[in-house]
Symmetry: C2
Subunit: 324 residues, 2 copies
């Protein structure tokens, strides 16, 4: 049982070991730990929300960790406290997450005002998104004012975390449309900004072309009403263009439609949507655990697949069984 | 009560008045009619599925009805039986649907082998999608082998019906990216083919440009693995390019990954997904009708919006209330 060892006040004071322990508690599958973590979260909730939540994604090889290190070091240097969380639905319980490799982000991990946490394993309810969302709240309670959520760019995880982020940044490689093929459907639509990374050496010219090319593509893709996604170039390796990206985040944060705090509005909607999603999951979970339903479901699904009964008839039968 | 007057054998024989009555039954909100319509559907189910289900959408002014009339007349002339259903979530119970205007598709509506049905009003469970899905099955039982489902291009309805269609056709106007702004987010991703309509007169040259422009945009948007959406031009008004579109539908229909019937596979998945969606809706409906939940929900939602409790805590409270 992890919960005994949590020191909430140390966490509030920004102690990274206390924060790490608290996240371990949150990730625990044990029922008593779940209760303890919920209690902890409710205590800390008044102290959460004081950060900008930035998602960073891109296909493998785009240079996510190099970028996050450069970006994070820049932010720490300008007085911010930066937490990096990774979401990798493919990572097994044993670990082996995308941030598992300790050689990544060495310089950033040595910074007092940086906190790096590998990906949690997916749990039943809420999946990795729930763990990440709760870890994010803990980081905020510990006084981290910039949260970077790294995802692997395989699609699934991006959609999971998009609902908890203020800002989504998609990293791309220089060089036209073909490179885009690696980017899964729907990711472009999530992006608040696209950064063409590795805009250095031979890549510089190519990156400028890609920027125009991508910008015109983004113009075709409907985004939020208030914000048109921008396309920037950067060289994380040579630390070029990193400040522009933070300026862009500031511009996004400071945008206000008639004095309305767009991020506050967005978060309120996100919380509500997340609550509804969890209710749906809990309802489905309850249904799946119902013995009669569990027993009859496979046959019903097969009949529906074969168009032997209408989906509605099958759905109503499921409900009938659930009440039996 | 409508159900008394349904003549299933006349419907099976292709009688359009019997079909119209059956659809009216399906659209009825009365419980006894719902039961009767479900019984009718289950009887007819073995005779359904023998059609290609084509969605046609586009922003107002793109010429949907002109296109559907030209396309439908071409199909009827080549021996097909064509049913046109319209989905318009905004249409009130009183009617006033997008096909309500009787002056539309005059020539097509005079054809023996064409059946045109205005939009149903949205109902609680399954919404207009359920009505349309069931109407589609009735049309198939009545021997219509091409079903054209017209949507208004406002986004919502397209996503509702995409899950019941074999093929989605997006109509666009000639002329660059700006015209695309009218097309809601996510519609491009649904399209199996894009047709630049009004490719005539001054529009002809512009349409050719738009075709290239749109084709390159589509290349950036991930679609299904097996099918890369094509972009065609047509002039419904002058009946040009209409046959090409039907050829395209045939090509799509006849594509087979290693002898697998892609449409059969797609429909099996659609049916299963639709069943699960209806189960979710029924679960939510049951929850909403629970007095304690209905009473406490608004306060809980407000607390979640204000981040006074975590979405998980609120969701668990909802479940607790539902069991009380």
């Amino acid at each position: 049982m992890v919960s005994r060892s949590i020191d909430a006040s140390a966490l509030r004071a920004g102690d990274r070991r206390a924060l790490a322990k608290a996240i371990t508690l949150i990730e625990s599958q044990r029922d008593d730990d779940r209760e303890a973590s919920q209690a902890l979260l409710n205590d800390l909730l008044p102290h959460t929300g004081n950060s900008i939540r930035i998602g960073i994604t891109g296909v493998p090889g785009v240079g996510k960790s190099t970028f996050i290190e450069a970006f994070g070091l820049h932010l720490v240097a300008s007085g911010h406290r930066v937490a990096v969380l990774a979401v990798d639905p493919s990572s097994p319980l044993a670990g082996g997450s995308i941030l598992g490799d300790k050689t990544r982000m060495e310089a950033l991990s040595r910074e007092q005002n940086a906190f790096i946490r590998p990906s949690p394993a997916g749990s039943a309810l809420g999946g990795v998104a729930l763990k990440t969302r709760e870890s994010m709240l803990l980081c905020e309670a510990a006084g981290f004012d910039v949260i970077l959520v790294e995802t692997v760019g395989v699609g699934q995880s991006e959609h999971q975390v998009a609902g908890m982020l203020d800002y989504f940044c998609l990293l791309m490689l220089p060089g036209g449309g073909d490179e885009l093929q690696g980017i899964k459907k729907g990711i472009l639509e999530l992006a608040d900004t696209i950064v063409i990374n590795k805009a250095d050496g031979d890549g510089a010219g190519l990156a400028r072309m890609s920027r125009q090319h991508t910008a015109s593509a983004m113009a075709l893709i409907k985004h939020s009403e208030s914000w048109q996604p921008q396309v920037l170039t950067c060289s994380a390796l040579h630390n070029e263009g990193v400040t522009d990206i933070w300026d862009m985040v500031q511009a996004f944060r400071n945008q206000s439609a008639d004095g309305v705090d767009v991020i506050a509005v967005k978060r309120a909607e996100q919380n509500l949507a997340w609550m509804n999603q969890l209710v749906d999951e809990l309802l489905r979970l309850g249904l799946k655990r119902h013995p009669r339903v569990a027993q009859e479901m496979p046959a019903l699904e097969q009949q529906v697949k074969n168009a032997e009964i209408t989906p509605l008839a099958a759905a109503m039968e499921v409900m009938r069984l659930s009440l039996s």
